[in-house]
């Protein structure tokens, strides 16, 4: 979308935008030649159409949080996703050690270690974290 000042044959430049919270969207543009200002005013349906695409007017490709569309458009989505607990990552060494656990219990063991680390705010599960968990949880042989 471009705005052209027909008097000056100059492309108008974006100045500012406002999202007042009533479902509408406003943006101001001005002509660099004559300084004339115009406003783009979108009604709730037009604003919603753009939001439904998961894109941002003004051109941002940065994703601040996962599932922005769910957060912004689904009732309850923001609350649920804000409550998502932080999940620790597994180091390569820890993954290798986990792979030696028999397949039929591996999922359960992985969950035990993951829950252990998450509950203690441990960001990465390493073999030493696994050793500590084994001691604390009595997981001999896992």
């Amino acid at each position: 979308m471009k705005f052209l000042c027909l008097e000056c044959n100059e492309r108008m430049v974006f100045e500012e935008r406002e999202v007042p919270g009533d479902g509408t969207f406003s943006a101001a543009f001005s002509c660099p030649g004559c300084g004339r200002r115009i406003a783009l005013l979108a009604n709730p349906m037009e604003t919603q159409l753009v939001e439904a695409l998961g894109v941002k007017v003004g051109g941002s490709t940065l994703q601040e949080k996962p599932m922005e569309l769910v957060r912004s458009m689904m009732v309850g989505g923001e609350e649920v996703l804000s409550g998502a607990r932080s999940v620790p990552v597994w180091s390569e060494e820890a993954k290798e050690r986990l792979s030696r656990v028999p397949a039929f219990v591996r999922g359960m063991v992985k969950k035990l270690y993951t829950d252990y680390a998450a509950a203690r705010g441990i960001a990465e599960i390493t073999p030493s974290v696994m050793d500590r968990a084994r001691e604390d949880l009595g997981l001999e042989g896992m």
């Binding site: 919603q48 695409l53 894109v55 051109g59 458009m73 689904m74 607990r85 999940v87």
Partner: protein, 283 residues
């Protein structure tokens, strides 16, 4: 007479909104997220109530006995059931820019709108009332895209996608996941189901989706007393659909009043044979 108005491409300068760029970046994220998934298989039907979610759950259970890493994405936003069938519950986890799926039975990773909705609450959108039909389709396709791109699926042997009834989501999925391995169509034996599923299969084919075969659910009722099998519906939808599209009937599942738990983690011949045929097709 006024001079003609300038055209878009006659006015210089970059497109500040970069909407196309943003949409392409979204697609790129889906591709990156699924890069470690070996096979992505959709479960579809043109008709509701044929047991797509049930079949998805029991197939996932069967595959989990053969592979370590199975994921299930419930694309039915309004009527999500797979998470409950697989006993996957929240709270969800977050890791950086991603949400981690919930772990269900046999370590199956599950993501579903069911995990995002408060208990007993229907799916609702923040929307201006009265205009929802205009943008609902775009929004649902966008949420499906986020379920693919913003969930940390990690390395998977299989990602099964349980689609809602109808044809449009299959087409959306085909655009979002160009390397979709294929789709399995689920029907019940009746003529009504055949007609609806045929339309959906045709739409999938037109979208370039590889149809893998047909599964007939509720093909019969197994009497718990005598053990005999009796038909539940008149019709031969699976055979007719397979013939129409040049496919095989991957298998038939009897009506099971005890639900999916009977199949999950157990040795049921029918679902095992369906999995065998699917694996043959997918390699």
């Amino acid at each position: 007479m006024s001079p003609r108005l300038p055209r878009y491409h006659e006015v210089g300068g970059e497109d500040r909104s970069r909407l196309l760029e943003q949409v392409l970046a979204q697609r790129e994220r889906v591709e990156q997220r699924l890069a470690q998934v070996r096979r992505v298989v959709a479960v579809m039907s043109g008709k509701g109530g044929v047991g797509k979610s049930y079949f998805t759950a029991v197939l996932a259970g069967e595959l989990a006995q053969r592979f370590d890493r199975i994921g299930v994405l419930d694309a039915d936003l309004a009527g999500p059931t797979v998470a409950a069938l697989l006993d996957a519950r929240g709270p969800l986890g977050a890791r950086g820019q991603t949400v981690t799926p919930a772990a269900g039975r046999a370590g199956i990773q599950v993501f579903s709108a069911d995990l995002l909705l408060p208990e007993g609450e229907p799916l609702r959108w923040k929307e201006p009332a009265g205009e929802r039909f205009v943008w609902r389709g775009a929004l649902e396709a966008g949420v499906l895209r986020e379920f693919l791109s913003d969930v940390e699926w990690g390395p998977l042997d299989f990602l099964l996608i349980d689609l809602p009834p109808g044809a449009s989501q299959m087409q959306d999925l085909a655009e979002l996941v160009p390397r979709l391995s294929g789709a399995v169509a689920v029907t019940i034996p009746s003529e009504e189901s055949r007609r609806a599923v045929s339309r959906a299969m045709r739409a999938a084919k037109e979208a370039g989706v590889r149809l893998l075969g047909v599964v007939e659910n509720m093909s019969s009722y197994r009497c718990p007393g005598c053990g005999g099998e009796h038909p539940l519906f008149r019709g031969s939808a699976a055979e007719e659909l397979a013939g129409e599209f040049g496919l095989s009937v991957l298998g038939r599942l009897p009506f099971e009043p005890r639900g999916a738990s009977v199949f999950l983690g157990s040795e049921r011949r029918e679902i095992g044979e369906i999995a065998d045929r699917l694996l043959e097709l997918l390699g």
